[in-house]
């Protein structure tokens, strides 16, 4: 991939200061997102996938969060160095984000229409006076957006309160809000985890269509490999704050190389193929207050070797496949 990435996260590390000590949540993460791409970030609880995504828009409270190194580049600007005022202008305009539980992100005492219009009007303040739209136009735009996210009867639903809507419909409202600033990048943090499978299918279908219709680039954060397989083109696997494998969907599912990725795939029950046994990954996540040196997966790894106490470098296996594991870096040099 020679073309310039749209978003580029370089050598990013982040700590949390806690009463128990310093929690090394993210350790030297590199992620590129290309235009029009749907990138999945997969990992288990505590692997740092949400923290990485939230850092792009500086959404983590600091303290306790503290960026220790790295750069996040979008359109020639380093997002990590922007002050509070400048980053606010980027939120919703360059990058938008939707979250897991749509109810907690909507205000229960205002109608959904009102909340959507508020977001649209907030974006207007950043524009030159001549381009701004008034309240009435904002309402028209809001209804357009509700149609775009395929909310049934948008005119009527405009005056509903969040509690009158189902989880799937609320998630559509959040997507409409996220799209109101015409962002280039949509970050979806576990957007369907709180939803039923049939509703999940609807929302995934919607996100897929938005990628095609609006040329949106999407970062999808999830723990569900099935969800990733159904809409993403590329997948990044994270473990304990490190990126351990980065490959196209075909490679991840057809030719997984990292022992952790293999472990994850063996742990998921498949809806049609009947596996006689599922293999879990023995052990549990390392404590990131005091992470093991080198590869953070080594304590649970079936292929552990002496070298693993040093951090493995990034090995490019092919155009669409990179990995951080000693097993493969040696193979290459030998």
């Amino acid at each position: 991939m020679t073309n310039q990435p749209l978003l580029s996260i370089r050598d990013f590390s982040l700590d949390f200061d806690t009463f128990d000590g310093v929690y090394h949540a993210i350790d030297d993460v590199n992620i590129d997102l290309h235009a029009g791409e749907a990138l999945g970030i997969v990992g288990e609880t505590g692997c740092g996938k949400s923290v990485t995504a939230k850092s792009i828009l500086q959404l983590l409270p600091s303290p306790p969060a503290r960026v220790t190194s790295g750069e996040i580049w979008l359109d020639g600007e380093n997002f990590l160095t922007l002050d509070a005022k400048s980053i606010q202008k980027k939120r919703g305009i360059d990058v938008s984000m939707i979250f897991q539980d749509p109810m907690t992100y909507l205000n229960p005492v205002f109608t959904i229409g009102q909340q959507l219009v508020d977001v649209i009007l907030a974006h207007q303040r950043l524009k030159p006076t001549a381009d701004r739209i008034n309240k009435a136009a904002a309402k028209t735009r809001a209804i357009e957006l509700l149609e775009r996210v395929r909310l049934p009867n948008p005119e009527r639903q405009f005056d509903s309160y969040p509690h009158e809507l189902s989880g799937g419909m609320r998630q559509r409202i959040l997507i409409a809000q996220a799209l109101s600033g015409r962002p280039k990048i949509l970050i979806a943090d576990e957007p369907t985890t709180a939803l039923d499978v049939t509703i999940q299918a609807q929302i995934l279908e919607l996100i897929k269509d938005l990628i095609d219709e609006l040329g949106l680039s999407v970062i999808l954060i999830t723990h569900d490999l099935g969800v990733v397989a159904s809409i993403c083109t590329r997948v990044i696997i994270m473990y304990a704050g490190q990126v351990i494998e980065d490959a196209s969907v075909n490679e991840i599912f057809g030719n997984p190389r990292h022992p952790y990725t293999k472990g994850l795939l063996a742990a998921v029950p498949h809806p049609t193929q009947h596996a006689s046994t599922l293999t879990g990954i023995p052990g549990s996540l390392p404590n990131l207050l005091n992470p093991p040196s080198g590869c953070r997966f080594r304590e649970r790894c079936p292929l552990v070797q002496e070298k693993c106490s040093e951090r493995p470098g990034w090995t490019t296996l092919s155009d669409h496949h990179g990995i951080a594991c000693w097993e493969f870096s040696e193979e290459k040099h030998a």
């Binding site: 189902s166 509703i199 998921v268 029950p269 599922l278």
Partner: protein, 317 residues
């Protein structure tokens, strides 16, 4: 072993001076479970699957119907039959973090049923709890730990230890792995499978995750709005689902593989409110194969399609 006959659980949610509103969470279901069977109860949120699990243990008031465990009728329940019921059937909940008292060490949590029912005390009790922990794969150092010192998977194992303490015949598992990561889920599922064969337990496994049910259960019942729409052997249901809702559910499951199978368009709309049930078939408002004149007027009856598969749909009657 377990025999449920025409079970109804209705909740009166009327507010004073307002129209009477009754949530029909479970609306006349029949289920039977043989010894050593693992029956998966699947459905979307609001379908009433958890309510059935709770109703069996009388954790919610039952409106009408009969629940028999090994011929032992549990409805109505008095103090004596309640003790008997709790010994025979136990439940494991979704969230292990809230199922354990944070102020009690593991020993006390797991010991509670043994103290109440088996009247064990002192070192005998401690030995029995240690043995239970060993059964679920936890070392005896955990006896004096508190829940906050344990990971989610370990807590769920503690809950399992507590549930099997009295050698129950029936274990009701209400989404036992949905709060856990996949690598831990795999460990717990494998362990539950082992446990089932070892003690020839009967499982009622409630889940929204079809893949998990497929892996663990030999029979499946699919629920929609308080009724069972299809029931049968796991292999039959997954290979040739007959009810349009079952087909839609299976169609919606994302596959963890690069090549996605061809999919029909997903179901539109949401599950209707259990207060205003649709007339006729509950599913007709969303059904892609709705037949005008039949489906919205008469409700289909769960009828046998083959020896191992039952379906409630006009298409198959």
């Amino acid at each position: 072993m377990l025999d449920i006959n025409d079970l109804k659980v209705h909740f009166d949610t009327s507010k004073p001076l307002k129209r009477k509103t009754i949530v029909k969470a479970v609306n006349g279901i029949n289920l039977s479970l043989a010894k050593g069977d693992a029956l998966g109860l699947v459905g979307e949120s609001g379908s009433g699957k958890s309510t059935i699990g709770k109703a069996i243990l009388h954790l919610v008031p039952i409106t009408s119907g009969s629940i028999k465990i090994d011929g032992f009728e549990t409805n109505p329940l008095n103090r004596k039959t309640e003790r008997e019921l709790r010994r025979r059937a136990q439940m494991i909940f979704q969230d292990p973090h809230s199922a354990l008292n944070p102020r009690l060490p593991i020993l006390r949590s797991v010991a509670e049923p043994l103290v109440l029912h088996a009247d064990l005390r002192g070192s005998e009790l401690r030995a029995k709890v240690a043995e239970l922990l060993e059964t679920v794969g936890l070392p005896s150092q955990f006896l004096y730990r508190y829940p906050h010192e344990l990971s989610g998977g370990q807590k769920q194992r503690v809950c399992i230890a507590r549930a099997i303490a009295l050698n129950p015949e029936l274990l009701i598992l209400d989404e036992p792995t949905s709060a856990l990561d996949v690598s831990v889920q795999a460990q717990i599922l494998e362990f539950l499978k082992e446990l089932q064969t070892k003690f020839s337990l009967s499982f009622l496994f409630i889940s929204h995750d079809l893949s998990v049910i497929r892996h663990l259960c030999n029979r499946v019942a699919v629920m929609y709005l308080g009724e069972i729409v299809e029931e049968g052997l796991t292999t039959d249901i997954f290979h040739s689902p007959k009810h349009p809702y079952t087909q839609a559910l299976l169609n919606a499951v994302p596959f963890p593989q690069a090549k996605q199978p061809h999919r029909e368009a997903p179901l539109t709309g949401d599950i209707p409110s259990p207060v205003d049930l649709p007339t006729g078939c509950n599913f007709y408002t969303r059904c892609p194969k709705m037949m005008k004149g039949t489906c919205e007027t008469t409700s289909p009856i769960l009828s046998e399609l083959s020896e191992s598969q039952k379906v409630a749909c006009h298409l198959h009657s």
